[in-house]
């Protein structure tokens, strides 16, 4: 079995007149975590979106297990989870309903498993409330529950710890460590740095 890995070759990308990614290259093996740092506007989000194939790079390739991801995007997408700035939740559905639809589109999901995932992020008591009434930190927790439920090898996270209290940040640390422990991969764009419990972490600094 080939070693599962993500490889980035000579990535170039312009946004408007800005040359955001300039010949970026790196490789990520199973169980590795990459922390993408940089000032606002240095292209952290753009990099994540390019990695998951939403943005087509002007030059260079992203390889998954040695194969260009653009050749079979759907298979690649089935192996990754992407969380943007905002949790992808519907304000008018409850936290539970949100996960039911969001995760259900991707994989079969039992009610019991759903309850357990919600319990893990401490959402048992309020998962029946509409997301509109939840705080930003609570929404973030719901998104983390969804992330854990997907069971995919590659996580691409944009600022996973924003709006979270100390306990929430610890939860992120635990989830990430578990993912790495299972041989999963994590790429996280962070402003403040990942919780200390996550290791080993490679840092990638993007210059503005």
């Amino acid at each position: 079995m080939p070693v599962e890995q993500l490889e980035v070759e000579n990535l170039h990308l312009w946004r408007g007149e800005r040359h955001v990614l300039r010949g970026l290259r790196f490789a990520l093996a199973r169980g590795a975590c990459l922390e993408v740092c940089g000032a606002n506007g240095s292209g952290k989000t753009t990099l994540l979106r390019t990695l998951c194939g939403l943005i087509y790079p002007e030059e260079g390739r992203v390889l998954w297990n040695g194969e260009d991801v653009q050749r079979d995007l759907r298979a690649f997408h089935a192996a990754l989870a992407y969380l943007g700035h905002e949790p992808p939740l519907k304000a008018d559905l409850t936290a539970r309903e949100n996960l039911h639809y969001w995760i259900g589109v991707r994989r079969r999901l039992g009610e019991e498993e759903l309850s357990r995932a919600l319990a893990r992020v401490g959402a048992s008591s309020w998962c029946g409330r509409r997301v509109r009434t939840l705080s930003a930190g609570q929404r973030r927790r719901v998104a983390l529950a969804g992330l854990a439920l997907l069971h995919v090898p590659l996580w691409l996270l944009d600022e996973p710890t924003t709006n979270l209290d100390g306990e929430g940040r610890e939860l992120v640390g635990t989830l990430l460590s578990e993912q790495l422990g299972r041989g999963g991969m994590v790429i996280a764009a962070v402003h403040q740095g990942l919780p200390a419990s996550v290791s080993p972490v490679t840092r990638l600094e993007l210059a503005a």
């Binding site: 079995m1 979106r49 519907k90 639809y101 589109v105 079969r108």
Partner: protein
């Protein structure tokens, strides 16, 4: 998604390792959802959301009735003349009402990141777009078709077979309208104040549906057989069902770039 592709195989291995060594023992083997299952959930999600926000659901209907109400006031209350105008009133009303509802089709999904998750779900975006368009039709096309006979009666059409024909014509005709509209709505994603542009893009393409639909309605009112235009509408619907979701999916991908 096939379960034999190389990116999937290691994924199963990963779950195995979780069962053995993971601190929380995620025991359930992960089974990807089938394309049909995914489309069903996308459809249900939109329907459930629509019923949570009933106001948005009623707006196009109220608009439809309003437009129909304006005609007698603007032309004349004479039943014979109104009956003559009825197909035009019904179809222009239905067209504009369907257009009005289009703005909501993708806007919220684009805003809250749902569209992104669909595009990255590993499922066929085309079938998810089809599900969303189907939801749009169920939420606007069907209510419009059911409301059409009421409007027709206010325009002096009373014969039962004529009313039945109108329901059929509007019901079938709104299918291509929803499909064309889904392309337009997806193309204008991310454009501020896209309403005018959306109508500029969709109205010319809606012309065939308008022509056949209005003709079918006219024949129904005159008590003539309306199969010919209905068949043409059906052909448009079938053509649209096969092509429009592909275009809408491509447009959504472009909007996410």
């Amino acid at each position: 998604m096939s379960s034999t592709g190389s990116p999937v195989t290691p994924l199963v291995a990963m779950v195995d390792s979780a069962r053995l060594g993971g601190p929380h023992g995620l025991a359930e083997a992960m089974q990807p959802a089938s394309a049909l299952e995914a489309a069903r959930l996308a459809l249900l999600r939109d329907l459930q959301l629509a019923f949570r926000k009933r106001g948005q659901l009623l707006q196009p209907l109220a608009f439809f009735v309003m437009v129909a109400l304006l005609f007698p006031l603007a032309v004349s209350p004479e039943p014979a003349r109104l009956r003559e105008l009825a197909p035009a009133v019904l179809w222009i009303g239905a067209l504009l009402a369907s257009l009005l509802a289009l703005e909501f089709l993708f806007r919220d999904d684009a805003y809250d990141g749902t569209l992104e998750q669909y595009a990255l779900s590993g499922q066929s975006l085309t079938s998810l777009m089809f599900a969303k368009t189907l939801a749009h039709w169920l939420l606007t096309g069907v209510p419009l078709a059911l409301m059409a006979p009421v409007v027709a009666m206010s325009l002096g059409v009373v014969a039962a077979p004529a009313l039945a024909g109108i329901v059929l014509a509007v019901g079938v005709g709104t299918v291509p309208l929803s499909l064309i509209g889904s392309i337009g709505a997806a193309l204008t994603l991310g454009i501020k104040r896209s309403g005018t542009l959306l109508s500029l893009l969709t109205l010319p393409l809606s012309l065939p549906a308008l022509i056949f639909g209005a003709r079918a309605t006219q024949l129904a009112i005159h008590g003539a057989p309306l199969l010919a235009p209905l068949e043409l509408l059906g052909a448009l619907a079938v053509l649209g069902i096969t092509l429009a979701p592909i275009a809408a999916a491509a447009a959504v991908r472009i909007s996410l770039e």
